[in-house]
């Protein structure tokens, strides 16, 4: 028996040489395949996966940011529109109030004008009537006096006839004048 083989058989801590060699070969087979081919393979795929996940996250982030900005924009626009509407309503109310006030004032003014014009007209008519009356009354008085003087004052009947006649004349005149 080979002394080394003998020794290995007696002491489990003495490594048998052939098994060292086979152990090395067996390990190198595993190491070779894993290190040269299989682990680089899987590393590539793991990197791809990480990139895919990160890319997806980035895309989602970008979409979210965009959506948020658009929402913000919409909100701003909506607020602006509301503000504008309120402003317009306010303005319309103000304008309406102003118009009503103006029309009231105008109406008042026109009424006063009409009243004033009426008063003036009435005054003028009155004055004209008064002056015409004054002339007529004078003339009538003169006429009547002349007639009374021309006829006998004793005859009461005649007297009253004269007056009636005068009044009829007067009426006829008024009728004609109308």
């Amino acid at each position: 028996m080979d002394p080394l083989v003998q020794l290995a058989a007696e002491n489990p801590l003495i490594p048998p040489i052939p098994e060292l060699v086979i152990g090395l070969i067996a390990f190198l087979i595993v190491f070779g395949f894993l290190a040269k081919k299989l682990l680089p393979n899987i590393n590539k795929v793991l990197d791809e996966r990480r990139e895919a996940i990160e890319g997806g996250i980035e895309k989602a982030d970008a979409a979210k940011t965009e959506a948020e900005s658009v929402l913000e924009q919409y909100k701003a626009q909506l607020a602006e529109a509301r503000h504008e509407a309120a402003r317009l309503r306010q303005e319309a109310t103000e304008q309406g109030t102003a118009i009503i006030a103006e029309m009231k004032a105008e109406g008042q003014r026109q009424r006063e004008e009409i009243i004033a014009a009426g008063h003036a007209q009435i005054e003028a008519d009155r004055k004209a009537a008064a002056s015409a009356l004054r002339q007529d009354v004078g003339k009538l008085a003169t006429d009547l006096a002349g007639k009374l003087v021309g006829e006998s004052l004793e005859d009461h009947a005649r007297q009253s006839r004269t007056i009636d006649r005068f009044l009829d004349e007067l009426d006829a005149k008024a009728e004609a004048a109308r």
Partner: protein, 273 residues
């Protein structure tokens, strides 16, 4: 010395208690195999352990070949399992101890080391094989030697000759005269004892585990006679329990082996401590 390299089975099959037959206790002879090929007396032979070692390699490569030959970004079941194993070693062991930047280079080595050791341990409880390859010192020794070569060359490459010795011995002048004694002890501990314990830790665990399994298995069979049957039942329960325990120990020892390898590499990379 009861070692008999010509014995194929671990025990004699027709030996029971009360038959006038002594208990065929397991021993060193349980770890010696008749060569399948060649001459057991020379250094040219091929035996069961070597067959299991090579077969184990083929199984590991086959598994990872099936899983990683054509990997997908969205993984299938097999790829998922292999990935989680790979990721466990890469992230949980290498990155944790050496760090991501320095450790990346050693990932394939450590991953191969872990799955190799684990597979060699697993043979212990795989039916028909039922022998842990790592309980033959040659296998842990050659792996520990590879780790040893890796970290020693790395130390010298990283720090130069003086720096490497300082790194290995932890020499510190401020300690005064004690520094020389401490440095000597450290040198002895790190350069000589460390690779030895690294290999023997794995070897002894698997050796002891296999011996325990053998003990209870043989006892279950040996006691199968008369009143001994009751005890055989107990012994068989122990076989089941120890098999489960071995399943656990095999993974733990593979983990410890690569964790230590990583710690040694990390120590080699580290600046003076």
């Amino acid at each position: 010395m009861s070692a008999d390299p010509t014995q194929v089975l671990a025990f004699e099959t027709d030996c029971h208690i009360f038959d006038g037959c002594g208990f065929p206790a397991p021993g060193l002879h349980s770890f010696l195999f008749e060569p399948l090929w060649g001459d057991g007396d020379s250094n040219l032979y091929f035996n069961k352990t070597m067959l299991l070692a090579l077969l184990g390699s083929v199984i590991i490569v086959g598994f990872f070949w099936a899983a990683f030959r054509n990997p997908k970004v969205v993984p299938g079941k097999l790829q998922m399992v292999a990935e989680s194993g790979y990721d466990f070693i890469r992230r949980g062991v290498v990155y944790e101890t050496i760090g991501k930047r320095d450790g990346e280079k050693y990932v394939p080595f450590i991953v191969a080391l872990f799955f190799f050791v684990w597979m060699m341990n697993l043979w212990s409880i795989i039916p028909v094989a039922q022998f842990p390859v790592t309980s033959i010192i040659s296998y842990p020794a050659v792996l520990a030697l590879l780790v040893y070569i890796t970290w020693v060359t790395l130390t010298f490459k990283r720090h130069g000759v003086g720096g490497a010795f300082k790194n290995i011995t932890g020499f510190d002048k401020s300690l005064g005269a004690v520094a020389y004694l401490a440095a000597f002890i450290e040198l002895f501990s790190n350069l000589l004892v460390r690779p030895f314990t690294h290999a023997v830790r794995l070897f002894a665990n698997m050796f002891a585990g296999h011996t325990l399994l053998l003990l209870f298995t043989i006892a279950s069979w040996y006691l199968l006679n008369g009143i001994g049957i009751a005890y055989a039942g107990v012994s068989f329960v122990m076989v089941i329990v120890m098999t489960l325990f071995e399943l656990f120990i095999q993974a733990v020892q593979a983990y410890v082996f690569v964790l230590l390898a990583c710690t040694y590499i990390q120590g080699a990379l580290a600046e003076h401590h």
